[in-house]
């Protein structure tokens, strides 16, 4: 049975109101080296509070995806501590952690592997062993949240890129996660779909950490930005301030808008 080292908290207090003082995510001194010897993370420390929306930016190869994969234990074996809602991310906790951290991958094709939209969104709840009634409820809820309720019976394979992105997000929303972790959510979308996604993410009342190269989206959506380069966090602060610092941005392969 799961080991949980501390009482499990939630981003909602006992009255169902948001609890902004709770730490949703806590990373301390995380180091990671790939088996081939490539050092990808060199001491990452990061805290995200409930309800925050944080952008993670940096050049290709900075280690953003590597960090995100750690957050629900898909990669491990490095040094350092990670806690999700107070629970340490260690092997025995993983089955629980994975329901709390909703990881949305860059390419929705990787995430949508069932024939129909319904089955894709139901995968998480079904794997959690929820009763069928509850699964249906959750699928309906998640699809409604992303505005795809009428798509339940469509084949995922034939959706447009923008629709796939939305369904991919629904596949983790159906697990009622506390934190949504997104890897390059706006990649490959045309301007209209991108705008729709930004509006969707803004409206979702959930803690969010997203890696991206899309500085326009960072400006429009994320109040806080973390800049990574070469496996380190080189800046962390309010987006407005960081986006003004041309030198900082240019030193890390980013562009001032």
């Amino acid at each position: 049975m799961p080991i949980v080292h501390e009482p499990v908290t939630s981003c909602e207090d006992s009255f169902g109101h948001p609890a902004p003082d709770v730490l949703a995510l806590e990373v301390q001194g995380l180091h990671f080296t790939y088996p081939d010897g490539h050092v990808a993370l060199r001491g990452i420390s990061l805290q995200v509070r409930c309800g925050e929306k944080v952008a993670l930016v940096g050049p290709n190869g900075a280690g953003k995806s590597t960090l995100l994969l750690h957050l629900n234990g898909l990669l491990n074996g490095g040094q350092g501590n990670i806690r999700v809602m107070g629970m340490p991310v260690i092997a025995p906790n993983l089955p629980l952690i994975r329901a709390r951290v909703g990881l949305v991958f860059q390419n929705p094709d990787d995430q949508l592997f069932s024939p129909t939209v319904y089955e894709d969104v139901a995968f998480g709840p079904l794997h959690m062993g929820l009763p069928e009634e509850e699964v249906r409820r959750r699928v309906a809820y998640a699809l409604t949240q992303v505005g795809m309720a009428q798509y339940a019976d469509r084949l995922s394979y034939h959706l447009s890129m923008g629709e796939k992105k939305r369904v991919a997000i629904a596949t983790v929303l159906s697990m009622h996660p506390d934190i949504l972790v997104l890897d390059e959510p706006s990649a490959g979308l045309d301007p209209r779909a991108r705008r729709g996604l930004i509006n969707l993410l803004r409206a979702l009342p959930i803690t969010m950490l997203a890696s991206t190269h899309d500085m326009l989206m960072v400006r429009d959506l994320f109040p806080r930005t973390v800049i990574m380069d070469e496996g380190r966090i080189v800046a962390d602060g309010p987006t407005e301030e960081l986006l003004e610092q041309r030198d900082l941005l240019e030193a890390h392969g980013l562009e001032k808008l």
């Binding site: 049975m1 629900n72 990881l103 991958f105 949508l112 089955e119 995968f123 394979y157």
Partner: protein, 265 residues
């Protein structure tokens, strides 16, 4: 995660790396052939064969440890042969009492089992040395010039190119599934066996369709650059003196092995 597993080539500058790949392919193949032909219990010849492997590994600067570690892949298969120890008739060495049954290991069985293991182990190491010192494009060039049908080699070269791409794609698929494989706090979860199998099948089917579409796009990209039914390549390899010498030397070693095995011990 799989990159290290996939790429067996060790990028070093060495005499062995520099040899014509044809020489390496032919020598590796003949070495394996010759090892398989060694009789049971030819310990000296096995040892000499291993010395040859070590020498090449040192010359190639890949390290004996690398070769050794890789060679363990054949180990599980030994289970198949271990029964020989108990079934071949011979002088009993050791008798185990298992319940009411008596197991006796015979000397002949042990010799045969160890010999099979030794030959297999030597062969695997030769194959590892080949891939550790020869990049896959060169390996394919060698095959092409050794008269393996060109069509097959071309297909193999496409396969190897897209192997990496598809293995990455699959890794991401597996990760995406794993990321959502949560259990409820009550300790329930996992789904039924059939459901899990169905999900795996869905993933396979999806990967198939994506691959099929990719092959169409690749075909378009080939056409766009003037491909018309015939594949044209340039031969980048020339046999030099040292290639001939290395090849000849290798064959001498093999003959020596056979001589030792049959006439010395």
């Amino acid at each position: 995660m799989l990159e290290g597993l996939l790429d067996r080539y060790l990028n070093r500058a060495s005499f062995v790396h520099d040899l014509d790949p044809r020489v390496k392919v032919v020598n590796a193949f003949l070495f394996i052939l010759s090892v398989v032909l060694l009789p049971d219990g030819a310990w000296i010849a096995y040892f000499l064969g291993w010395c040859a492997i070590l020498a090449v590994a040192l010359l190639a600067r890949v390290g004996a440890g690398f070769v050794l570690r890789g060679s363990l892949v054949a180990f599980p298969f030994a289970l198949v042969a271990i029964t020989l120890v108990f079934t071949l008739p011979g002088r009993p060495l050791l008798t185990l009492q298992l319940g009411t049954w008596e197991l006796s290991a015979s000397d002949a069985g042990l010799v045969r089992f160890t010999s099979i293991l030794a030959r297999s182990w030597l062969s695997v190491q030769a194959a590892i040395l080949l891939t550790a010192t020869t990049r896959s494009p060169d390996l394919l060039h060698a095959l092409r010039h050794l008269r393996v049908p060109g069509l097959l080699v071309t297909i193999l070269s496409f396969m190897i190119r897209y192997l990496y791409v598809l293995v990455d794609e699959t890794t991401r698929l597996l990760r995406a599934r794993q990321a959502r494989s949560a259990w409820s706090a009550q300790g329930k979860g996992g789904g039924s066996l059939f459901w899990r199998a169905r999900v795996a099948g869905n993933m396979t089917g999806q990967l198939f369709l994506r691959s099929l579409e990719r092959s169409d796009r690749i075909y378009n990209a080939m056409l766009a650059r003037g491909f018309r039914s015939q594949f044209v390549t340039i031969n980048p390899h020339m046999m030099r003196r040292r290639d001939w010498v290395a090849g000849g030397l290798g064959i001498c070693v093999l003959l020596l092995l056979q001589f030792v095995a049959h006439f010395v011990s």
